[in-house]
């Protein structure tokens, strides 16, 4: 059976991922002066839907034995990794404020894009549900 909310469900997972990533990045900003701190980031590890692929937020299936992605309502899980590419200071702290701020802004934009897609998806459903009178 065709799930009415299939599209929205996958997009909802994308929203969850970006919210989670926002928390991780915010924690990096909080540790801007913590000696020896290595900034962390959240990578998306599971390709759960074609929507995710289109948005460029999911990783590709690299092995034929991996579980199929299409149609599955699989939970999107992120993988925390350390991102030291910003370079470290003398105190061993690797947080770069501008870099984290840029990542936060980019993440928020991605969230906004997904959120706009959810809204449009739901508007479509409303339009159909009200016999073309609403939405």
């Amino acid at each position: 059976m065709l799930d009415l909310y299939a599209g929205v469900t996958h997009l909802g997972q994308a929203l969850d991922y970006h919210l989670e990533r926002h928390n991780v990045l915010a924690s990096n900003v909080a540790h801007v002066d913590t000696p020896g701190y290595h900034p962390r980031d959240l990578a998306r590890v599971e390709q759960s839907s074609a929507f995710g692929e289109a948005l460029g937020v999911a990783l590709a299936r690299t092995d034929a034995s991996h579980l199929g992605a299409a149609g599955g309502g699989a939970e999107v899980t992120g993988r925390i990794f350390t991102d030291d590419s910003g370079g470290g200071g003398a105190d061993g702290n690797h947080v770069t404020l501008e870099r984290e701020a840029g990542k936060l802004a980019a993440n928020q934009l991605r969230y906004d894009v997904v959120s706009a897609l959810v809204s449009s998806e739901l508007r479509g459903l409303l339009f159909a549900a009200t016999d073309g009178k609403g939405g």
């Binding site: 590419s85 370079g87 870099r99 840029g102 802004a105 980019a106 934009l109 906004d112």
Partner: protein
């Protein structure tokens, strides 16, 4: 993919570089009269050397999309000391005076540092503006078709 988010990363790297420049300027101004350093001798003014670095993907390999258009991040390659001579001031009573009674003060010209500070702060503002406009572009892209 070289897109909106690479542009933001590039702007952010520029901001970081300008902040490093600001730190060196602050150090130069603060040490404009310092005659003793850990390395011995008078303080010498320092300058950061910037270099371009290809945008990398999350996996750490150079982003092919970025290379195609030549878009690069900026990073601080190293900090160099200014080789110019410091100014000699006749102060026989100074503990760091040489046998002839002259003290070598740092080669810091405060006016020059002020000019550098202005350019660094304007460059930082320009970076913020470019970041903001990238954000505005992406936001208006969301509005397409609404």
């Amino acid at each position: 993919m070289l897109g909106v988010f690479s542009a933001m990363e590039i702007s952010a790297s520029g901001l970081t570089a300008e902040r490093v420049r600001m730190n060196t300027i602050a150090s130069n101004v603060a040490n404009a009269n310092t005659t003793r350093t850990a390395g011995g001798g008078t303080y010498r003014r320092i300058d950061p050397v910037f270099e371009a670095e290809l945008v990398r993907t999350q996996a750490g390999v150079p982003d092919p999309g970025a290379g195609a258009v030549g878009a690069s991040l900026v990073r601080v390659a190293r900090i160099v000391e200014d080789p110019r001579d410091g100014r000699l001031v006749y102060e026989p009573g100074h503990p760091d005076a040489n046998p002839e009674g002259y003290v070598e003060y740092p080669n810091v010209n405060v006016v020059e540092e002020m000019v550098n500070m202005l350019t660094a702060s304007r460059a930082y503002e320009a970076g913020v503006t470019s970041l903001e406009s990238v954000k505005a572009m992406a936001k208006s892209a969301i509005e397409i078709g609404r």
